[in-house]
């Protein structure tokens, strides 16, 4: 159980690098100031991750439907 969680975190970290790059470009378009995330930035990042994963699900669903 402990191990499973660690592995999840490790492989999640790898995926996180890619996603951070994608969502950084979408959510930080202007000048950066301050050292903490503001509410808008936090919300944008959470939405970015969740919409990216919605799109992944949609892709799998659509690819499966094309086979039939």
């Amino acid at each position: 159980m402990r191990r499973a969680q660690e592995n999840e975190t490790d492989s999640a970290a790898t995926e996180t690098h890619q996603l951070t790059q994608v969502c950084w470009t979408k959510c930080f378009t202007g000048n950066v100031s301050g050292s903490k995330l503001d509410k808008t930035e936090e919300g944008c990042l959470a939405n970015c991750v969740n919409r990216f994963m919605d799109l992944n699900l949609l892709t799998v669903k659509h690819l499966n439907s094309m086979r039939h």
Partner: protein, 72 residues
Amino acid sequence: QVSSEANMANVRLLIEKLQENCFQKCVPKPGGSLSSSEQSCATSCMEKYMAAWNKVNSSYIDRLRQEQGVQM
């Protein structure tokens, strides 16, 4: 078997790149859900990207054969 593993890796890479490119194009500002226009853009985009992959692949192979002077 090697060939089919290579094929799986190709399909996985194709899907990965398709998702990145279609997210980029179809979800400019991620909101609280995927809107219906974002969804229809995304399905168009993924079919186009796969079709583009096939077209690029066949153009590339044609060109390689042409350069090698092989007649089909």
